[in-house]
Amino acid sequence: MTPKVSLEELSRWIDGEVTPEERMDIERRLRACPASAAILQRLQDVTGRVATAILSAPPSPLPLEGPNCLDESLLSHLADGSLSPSERERIETHLAECRSCFRLVFETLRAEARLRKGEWPDLPSDVVASPPIQALLHRPPPPPQEIWGELSLHLASESASSRLFSEGPCTVLVVMRSVERGKVRIECTLDEEGMRVVGRSIVVSDDATHRKLFSGKTDRQGLVRIPPLSPGRYTLHIEETRLKIALWIER
């Protein structure tokens, strides 16, 4: 009696994991055993369905990064393959907790491999000559006295987020204190040469409307409490310094 083809043999056959001799033997037994051939058909059918189901549920978009996520220099070393042992350890520790950086690291490695391989086609001639591109190239840069920082905050974040910015002897600590009814409470503390700065103005403006939303002065603790802000993009300007902070609040 011709032996049936085992489940594992059928599975290997579907995945191309059999030698030419094994393939011939399996196919000979399949011809002689209709029951095995029927099982094979069902396995192939479900494999196609599973593959379709996976491909039809594409990965979610890359989540936003938090303020303490991996910076460009570290990612550059990763892309270059020149991470030091301590940098590797730092990244490993961070990736264990941060979903967005894990996806970012994987995408960076993939993109870098492709970029190294590919040759850059020529630019279409109409692109370079287009008025918007030329206008952007010749637009004056922001005044050199401005120093920009960036901070992204997430309403869904379960832990308080903070970031320290500095310009010369002045440091600004921006802290997301709480989330209430879909708005974020932020506090800023200013120090200069180790001492709290009193009476310095912090102005918050809305990037969408360019309107000033808030202006307040630091108190005796060097602290300013900013009124709750909804998701959106804002600019924090620390007056009498060159420091501006691009603040992005996300759901």
Partner: protein, 281 residues
């Protein structure tokens, strides 16, 4: 040139941007497989942000990063910002209109229940075997790291290398995955656009039905392209699978053990399908 930009020399910055404009323009396609429809738009976006945020002055050679690699990382982040900005822009109308009729939830993909009812290890095995690792969810990555006793960075490097070698052996498959990613992006874009227009039309005296018709026509074409690509990839049209020895190496198990697990996962999937048919019958 980069050092001159750090010093705020405007002409140096302009010259550097001119030299790298080719990279900025083609990066979304080369790195992410984006379609050519977005390239000009992204170029404008990137140039605007580079100048607005004075990005080039932030390059610090003292930190040891090669300028070209550093700039590549910056551009990739800008591209992801660009994608998010486009999504937010299309959703503004939806958020502002509190009287809007809620859009119907999209129907789940076909046979998604087979995946949902599978054991997690079977889902991961199928995703690694049949498709590229970008289809793994964050929870599945963590399961894989734990099962393979590898760090997340090591896992990312390992999988990227295997995926690259696999796709290099079959450039046609890589092109299909790129086209699939592009079709997914444009499908989502037109779905959002249609939703936005529909909500606007709910208001009185608002024109827009022609715009809606055109959007639905584009959405339909993209959906057809998307389903064709999925069927092509899933149906074995030159579809590359990950060799067992590679997966066994990743999971630190014997190849025979892996083969047995895969066959049991397939059998389990057949049973799930049979139970579903019994339920329908």
């Amino acid at each position: 040139m980069a050092e001159l930009c750090r010093q705020g020399i405007d002409e140096a910055e302009r010259e550097l941007l001119r030299r790298y404009m080719q990279v900025i323009y083609w990066l979304p396609r080369q790195a992410f497989g984006a379609s050519e429809e977005v390239l000009s738009d992204f170029l404008l976006f990137a140039l605007e942000k580079i100048r607005e945020r004075d990005i080039l002055s932030k390059y610090d050679p003292a930190r040891g990063a090669n300028f070209r690699t550093w700039f590549g990382v910056v551009l990739r982040r800008l591209y992801l910002d660009y994608l998010r900005t486009r999504a937010v822009h299309e959703e503004v109308w939806v958020e502002l209109d509190s009287d809007a009729i809620p859009a119907p939830a999209p129907s789940p993909p076909p046979d998604s229940d087979i995946l949902q009812r599978m054991e997690p290890h079977c889902r991961v095995l199928f995703k690694l075997l049949l498709c590229n690792p970008s289809f793994l969810t964050e929870e599945e990555w963590k399961w894989l790291a734990s099962r393979s006793r590898r760090g997340m960075l090591e896992l990312a490097e390992w999988l990227e290398k295997e995926e690259r070698e696999l796709l290099e052996r079959n450039a046609a498959i890589r092109e299909k995955y790129d086209r699939l990613a592009s079709a997914i992006w444009w499908k989502t874009h037109y779905e959002r656009q249609a939703q936005t227009i529909e909500k606007r039309l709910a208001r009185p005296f608002t024109e827009g039905s022609r715009e809606l018709e055109e959007t639905y026509a584009k959405l339909k074409r993209k959906e057809e392209e998307y389903h064709r690509l999925v069927a092509d990839l899933a149906g074995g049209g030159g579809f590359a699978t990950t060799p067992y020895r590679v997966l066994a190496n990743l999971l630190r198990m014997k190849e025979g053990t892996l083969a047995a697990q895969i066959s049991r996962c397939r059998a389990a999937a057949v049973e799930i399908l049979a139970k579903r048919r019994e339920g329908e019958g």
